[in-house]
């Protein structure tokens, strides 16, 4: 038992959920968007045996990476260096921010154009750069929209999915000079494009994420649909790529299954419009490409995740977002309710591990364990089992050292309740006594009792039967062998 009951800490998700649930526009936006994404994905994987075999290859490729991660990271570093890419290691977010800032300052960069990167969201890089007088502009349309709105992404693939057309039209009318209110998607996109075009050409540096880094060849693979990723990584003279230490593959041969799984799972696309493969800076005689390429590898708690055989599978994630698209909880509360960078099922297992069970310990409980995410995960992450494991770690006596903040949610009352439950169901006499009591008096329990009150907000009170199945089975001769 921990020194003090701390069950009330880290309940941000639980506190924020009702606000989201009471916002009908937000609910409708997510419901509509997730329904569309689910049906598009289903159409891509209509052939079940093909899905099974593709998924097995994808999962195996990522499992192979995790089985030899340290060695592959070294190989990646060696290959990148040989190719002329400068490699940086950052154990923490402040370290990563300092590295990026230093590279930019050394190059005298004042403006940055960014491709989409969730690692940069983890780092809150834009704020950090702004504080040092460097302006970073998001070039992914969704990211551009939320940057205009001053918001955080609500989805890892579609960052502004919480907004509908009218909301975006109002935002653009307010923030883009000369553009009136229009809900015409082409006009809105054209306005954003016009705003961004000049920025690509003028930016001193481009910053991007990485979907897959190939250890065998030192190749950085980026998938995208808007061409902004390609522009951000080729037009400016300096390119900085940011990636978590888990996002690599062993060889080029691992890419085809993963490149087939990622867009189909994410947006229901057969393939993305752009697949960028970056292996080196501009070479003598080449007409385009950055003169300098840097790769920043961020740990930020991932090594600790890697250290546990079961939790390690969290790091297979290829960030497709299918788990959130199919999550009945995410689709109702939206991404911002999770507060941290990664929402939905993958966030529920990743955030508590990166941030600690003491500050995000309610997230593993924000699931019915319905397994909808497990069913669609293209790399077979056992999300439900990991959720349960994190629940276990959050109440582990003494805390344990598998997960930061272990034991943070242990409480004397809950422990006592499960002990009583154990007694009832592991001692038949106690079970008989409890059943006798509940069938006779259970219906007298008042609705205002804490758990019943929660239950009866939208449901009637469950009614105990007059006789238990145990009693009836005995009466009808089912208990005799």
């Amino acid at each position: 038992m921990g020194a003090e009951p701390r069950a009330a800490v880290g309940n941000d998700f639980t506190v924020r959920a009702p606000q989201a649930l009471n916002d009908p526009t937000l609910r409708a936006n997510f419901r509509r968007a997730m329904d569309g994404l689910m049906s598009k994905r289903a159409a891509q994987f209509a052939d079940k045996p093909a899905w099974d075999s593709l998924r097995a290859r994808g999962a195996a490729a990522k499992a192979r990476v995790l089985a030899q991660l340290p060695a592959l990271l070294e190989r990646l570093e060696d290959k990148c260096r040989a190719n002329g890419i400068t490699v940086h290691w950052a154990e923490t977010i402040p370290e990563a921010n300092a590295i990026v800032l230093e590279i930019l300052q050394k190059a005298g960069a004042r403006t940055v154009i960014k491709g989409k990167s969730m690692v940069s969201e983890e780092m809150e890089l834009n704020h950090h750069l702004a504080a040092h007088g460097i302006q970073a502009v998001e070039s992914d349309l969704g990211e551009y929209i939320i940057q205009l709105a001053g918001e955080a992404p609500s989805h890892i693939v579609m960052p502004c999915i919480h907004k509908n057309k009218a909301e975006i039209a109002r935002l653009f009318a307010e923030r883009i000079p000369g553009l009136g209110y229009t809900e015409d998607v082409d006009a809105l996109t054209a306005a954003a494009r016009a705003e961004l075009r000049g920025r690509f050409a003028a930016a001193d540096a481009g910053i991007s994420g990485v979907n897959f880094a190939v250890a065998e060849t030192g190749t950085l693979v980026l998938v995208e649909n808007e061409g902004n990723g390609r522009l951000s990584t080729t037009l400016p003279p300096l390119h900085i790529a940011l990636m978590g230490i888990e996002k690599l593959v062993e060889s080029l041969e691992d890419l085809p299954p993963l490149l087939a799984l990622l867009p189909r799972s994410a947006t229901g696309q057969h393939i993305t419009t752009y697949v960028n493969m970056i292996t080196h800076p501009r070479r003598a005689g080449e007409l385009d490409g950055p003169e300098e390429v840097h790769l920043v590898l961020l740990d930020s708690g991932r090594s600790r995740v890697y250290g546990d055989d079961q939790l390690r599978d969290t790091l297979r994630c290829i960030r497709c977002g299918a788990c959130m698209n199919h999550c009945p909880v995410y689709s109702r509360v939206g991404g911002h309710t999770y507060k941290f960078v990664y929402p939905g099922p993958i966030g529920k297992i990743l955030t508590p591990q990166l941030e600690g069970l003491d500050c995000a310990g309610d997230q593993p409980h924000a699931s019915t364990l319905c397994n909808a995410c497990v069913e669609v995960c293209p790399v077979k992450i056992p999300i439900a089992d990991i959720l349960v494991r994190l629940r276990e770690e959050s109440v582990r006596p003494g805390g344990g050292d598998a997960v930061k903040g272990g034991g943070a949610r242990r409480s004397a009352l809950e422990t006592l309740s499960w002990r009583a439950w154990m007694l009832i169901y592991s001692r038949p006499w106690a079970g008989r006594l409890a059943a006798w009591g509940m069938t006779r008096f259970g219906n007298l329990l008042p609705e205002r009792l804490p758990l019943l009150k929660a239950w009866t907000s939208v449901r009637t009170k469950p009614r105990f039967a007059a006789k238990s199945l145990h009693e009836l089975a005995r009466e009808q001769g089912y208990c005799d062998e």
Partner: protein, 256 residues
């Protein structure tokens, strides 16, 4: 994803089966429990209900209380000593026993026992269809029903079509499928009280989707879901009636 292991010994009809009634059925829906046993008995199988059984242990396991879950799981394993199939009228409890008992005892001396035990576990409707190849007679009046598949039945036990094939055998029953059948009803055991607002939103959406089918009844193989859905239907004053599939099938055979 767990796939139901085919029990090689069950190519033909067993003489005797064990019945695990589940704690929710025991206290709240004993009629559903009895109906399942009656369906099995009618097929010429002797049904044994060991009186020392209780709960599968899922509530503690899902809450992270593994020692408590293990103690209860061991008690269940002891309550079913003979090598007979164990039929469970709940996909969720069956899923716990089939897929999670081995995990609970991984690296422990009881592991082999847990694996052997889990191989004997069958969900009721899958057992009726795949092992007993039951043929149903319908003596009831015409009725329209919809099916609610539980998440664990579908995604842990791999039982998706079996219960619907049973409903389709009934001549006077029209099955209208819910386009959102695969979406969770929001029960989730302790989830319903740990995240009451989200659970409430989910079950409210669920009963709206069920109502859209126009069915008079919602039939399911899991009493946890039925308690959630049925309670919400009743609180909202809806006329749709929730019913466990075992009770429904038995009723149809009796012409009620």
């Amino acid at each position: 994803m767990a796939q139901p292991a085919t029990d090689v010994r069950l190519q033909s009809k067993p003489e005797r089966v064990y019945y695990f009634g589940t704690c929710v059925i025991d206290l709240f829906y004993p009629g559903a429990g009895l109906a399942g046993m009656e369906l099995l008995r009618r097929e010429g199988v002797q049904v044994v209900f060991p009186p020392d059984q209780g709960c599968c242990g899922q509530p503690a396991r899902n809450s992270g209380y593994m020692d408590e879950a293990r103690a209860v799981a061991l008690r269940q394993m002891a309550a079913f000593p003979n090598d007979w199939p164990i039929v469970v009228p709940s996909g969720s409890c069956a899923g716990m026993m089939k897929t999670h008992y081995p995990d609970l005892f991984k690296g422990r001396p009881e592991y082999e026992r847990a694996v052997a035990f889990s191989a004997r576990v069958h969900e009721l409707t899958a057992f009726l269809v795949n092992v007993l190849r039951i043929k149903l007679e319908d003596k009831g009046p015409p009725v329209t029903v919809t099916w609610h598949g539980s998440c664990h039945s579908m995604r842990e036990m791999g039982v998706v079509d079996e219960p619907k094939s049973l409903l389709r055998q009934l001549a006077n029953v029209t099955l209208v499928e819910n386009p959102r059948e695969k979406e969770c009803c929001g029960f989730g055991g302790t989830f319903s009280v740990r995240q009451p607002e989200i659970s409430a939103a989910m079950v409210t959406d669920k009963i709206a989707a069920l109502e859209e089918t126009g069915a008079a009844r919602v039939v399911s193989g899991d009493c946890g879901c039925l308690m959630n859905i049925g309670g919400a239907l009743e609180k909202a004053g809806k006329s749709m009636r929730p019913q466990h599939i075992a009770e429904f099938l038995l009723e149809r055979g009796h012409g009620r």
